[in-house]
Structures are given as C-alpha cells and as structure tokens.
Amino acid sequence: MRPPASFVTDDLGSFDSTLPAFLLPILRRDGGEAARHAVETLPDELRGLMQLALAVPDREETRGNHEKTHHIGRIGNITLAAWGAFLALSEFLGETLCSLGRLLTGRARFRTRDFLITLQQCGADALPIVSLISFLIGMIMAFVGNVQLANFGASIYIADLVAIAMVRELGVMMTAIILSGRTGAAFAAQLGSMNANEEIDALRSFGFNPFDFLVLPRVLALLVMMPILTVYANIVGILGGMFVGTAVGIPPALYWHGTLDSINLLTSSLGVFKSFFFGAVIALSGCMQGMNSGGSSAAVGRATTRAVVISITAIIILDSAFAAIFTVLDI
C-alpha cells in the first residue's frame, strides 16, 4: 500500500487536460478523505477542476457492464448470444405468422399507402438495375458459352445455354441478390432508425401492432414483386444472350426458336417458384434486423450489414437445397 499522494507544484507552468487526466486515477485510488486532502495541496485553478471531477463518485457497478472478459468467458458469451439470436428469430417468425393469421382473418391493419409505396420502391424502382444486371449476365453467358461451343461449330446452342441458365438459376438469383442489397438493406435501415427514434414504441403505445403495421406490408410487397421481377429478369437475360448471338452470326429468329425449344413451362416456373422463398427471406431478414436493432445509429448500420449478409447467405444455401431437391425429383 502506497502512502496517500500529495503534490509539489512550485514549478508548475501552463498545463492542458493531460495533467488532470493523469491526476484523477491517483486521487481515485486514494479516495475519500485522503483524496480531499491531496487536492488541497494543488494550486487553485487545478484544484477547482479536480474537485469537479471527483464530485460524483466513480460508479463501480456501472463499469461492470462493459467488463473485458477472458477467452473462455468469451466462448460462453458467444454461445449465449447464438442462443439469444435463435430465440429472437423464433419469436420474430412467430410474431410474423400471427400477423399473417390476423391478415387472413381480416383483423390486421396497416396503411394501404405504405404497401403501395413499398411495392413501388422494391418493384418499379428496381427495374433499371435489374435490367442492366440481367442483360449483362445474359451477354456474359452467351460470350463464355460461344468461346467453347464455337470450337464444335455448335454456336446455336448458346440459345439453350442462356435460356436454361437464366430461367432455372441466374434470373432469380441475380434478382434476389440485387433486392437483398437494395430492399432488404432499406428495410433494415428504415425499421432500425424508427426503432432508434422510439417510433416503434410510439406505435405500440397508440395500440398499433408494429408487426401488422410495418413488417406485413413489406413482406407482402416483396412476395408480390419478387416473382414479377424474376420473370422480367429472365426475359431481359435471354434478350442479352440474343444480342450476343446476333453479333456472332446467329439469326434472331433461329436464336428465338432455340430458346423456345430448350425451355418449357415446368423449367421456367422453377425460378419463379424459388423467387417466393427468396423474397420471403429478404423481407424477413431485413425487417427482423431492423426491428431488433439497438437504439443508436451505429446499431442501424450493423443491422443493415447483417440483413444483407444473412439474406444472401440464406439465399445461396436455399438455392443449393433446391438444386439438390430438383435433381432428386429429376426436373
């Protein structure tokens, strides 16, 4: 135990905040009477500052909240956090299902205008980017395919290649990834900042169910828009392939025939079928991250990132599962 501090300040010149910052832990360590005594030995201007800094005692138990944990403790914390995340997910899905139930029995209320605006934001407003990306993807497929197929003099088959790839996989996949980044992130950011601003609490205390009011219109809007955008992306992608096909000397009519021959109603509905699931995943992860985000702008940023990462990961995993199922079913 060191003796209580006292200070000799005869040669003290001018000083900035580093000096009081250096003194504060020393005085805190002594505490109580000893600290008060030590402060008395300081020159006037410094004494005033130290008395202010010491006026409210350091609250140990508030510190405990942000304590650094040991490695093993951290593993425990991660496990607990994972369990917490699982509980939050179940709760969120449960609430959304209840909300859907209320919608089906006509008891859920939300503003039709919100639904229409969301439709526009995630549908019509996404058309330019969906067009661009799908057209380019179609072109790339055709180019890459042609490099190989031309070796065998089978360039005409790029029509089949592009059509099947777009309709089964790429159209829906690209749309889903675009909407994750565009719409899923927007949902998380909107709901997250509403959360930070206590707007969701305000909805609750005015007797609105935030799930009916905020989550439902967003989920519905994506369920409506994803299939439509997927069909649109398929068509634009095929047009992109046709553009390249024409450039390498396949007549458009022939290309068109090749396309129609290669796909049928069943294959072209596979992508649309998947699009419902992907749409639900995007909307739910965006809304869930937003609704559960903490109360600060940093938390909103985290929620947005997480919404995008989770939905893209989930979409890829789901798509693999679908690929396996379709292979087993031989479609």
Partner: protein, 261 residues
Amino acid sequence: MSAAAVTSESDPRISVRGLTMAYGSFVVMRDLDFDIMPRDIFVIMGGSGCGKSTLMRHLIGLREPAAGTIEYDGRDFTNADPAARAEMIRRFGVMYQSGALWSSLTLAENIALPLEEHTRLPAATIREIVAYKLALVGLSGFEDYYPSEISGGMNKRAGIARAMALDPDILFLDEPGAGLDPLSSRRLDDLILRLRDALGSTIVIVTHELASIFAVANNSVFLDTNTRTLGATGDPVNLREHAEAPVVRDFLNRGESGGDD
C-alpha cells in the same frame, strides 16, 4: 372519447407497488411505491440518468418490471391479459423524450393516424381536430411538414399534440420542456394546467425544469441516483423546504442552500 372513470375521485388512478426496474442485471431503481391520483399533475424528477424515462416506459407497459406491480384504477396492469392491457393502453397518450414522431408521415398524418385507427370520425372532422391540436401547441400551418423539416423543439411540441390526439385519460410527457425557449415553455405549462382542468386528465411529467415543476405539479416523486430508490414523494413546493433527504432539498433549490423566495 375518454373511457368512463368508474372509480371515485379518492382512489388512485395509478398505484405502483414495490416496483424494481432493471436492464438485465443492472438494477436502475428498486422498491418504488407511490400513487398517482386522478387529475394529478404528477412530476417524476431526479438527476440525469437516474431512470426517469425507464420508469415512464414501465408505466406505459413497454418494459416489464423486474419485481412489483403497477395498477390502473385498482386493476392489475402488469399481469393483465393482452386484451385488458390493450384496453388500458388505449387510455394513454404518450410523448417520448425524442418526440418519436413517425418520420415517414407529415405532422397532420402523425396526429390523424391514431384518430383514424381508434375512432369512426369522418375525415373532415379529423382534419379539424388535427388543426386544433397543432394550434394548441403553437404549430398552426405546419400540417404538411415532415418531422425532419422542423426543429427539435417543434418536434417535441408536435409530439405533445399527437399524445393529446385521443383526449387521453392519462397523459405521459417525457421532458416536454427540454429544448423549448422560456416563453414556449411557459405556454406549455399553461397548456398542461388547462388540459387537466378542461378534460380532467391525469398528467404524468418527467422533467427537471424547476420553474415548471413549481408552476404545474401538485405531486411528485424524486428518484435518488445514489440510493437507487425513492428519495421523496409529495408536493414539490412542500418538498423544497421540508423534504427529509438533503439531496431532494438540494435538487429543488439548485444546490443553493435554503429557500430562495
């Protein structure tokens, strides 16, 4: 619009019994006991960060007590079933510390939304009510502004207008005066007194503006940060001179010893 108050004037409108509030393992306040009577203008006071907003969030059911109960008109609110709870919540009007206006709606739509949801009034009447409520808080003419287009103090006032939208039996205001200039703050005190007198509302205010505490409150609790529990209850004018705990007297005299009038 207000639900008929079936209880007599001498029964408490809100009773808080043994309330302990915690975030996880961090106990904010413990063992709070107090009553709020009908037509009270009741002030929750205490230092910054002592748990005033937290107490308000418990009173309106946004957080569950770690221990203890809250009753409205003698009916248990904490353990009520969802339907009964929703009915009780319908009688509240709440203004949050941040204003918490719905940012995607204009001021008029913010105030109209609860009216559209909970009443069958025709659109024209709703528009008139909205204009009247905005006029009460000095925001006439701002109907079509979005919350992001008006100042912080104006957001607060619009939040008060929205809280009053349904003529609530019980009005909760979290720091209504913070961020207002002295004249607006004074107008707000007038408004609160008049609302109580005209509608018979019970008003619960979180504030640390001494001037408005003495101007409007007839009852109060003081939350003591150091002991983590109730410092005092009673009429603040009375507490200023006669509170047992020195912290309460200090608080009400801005730390200047003794009475200052």
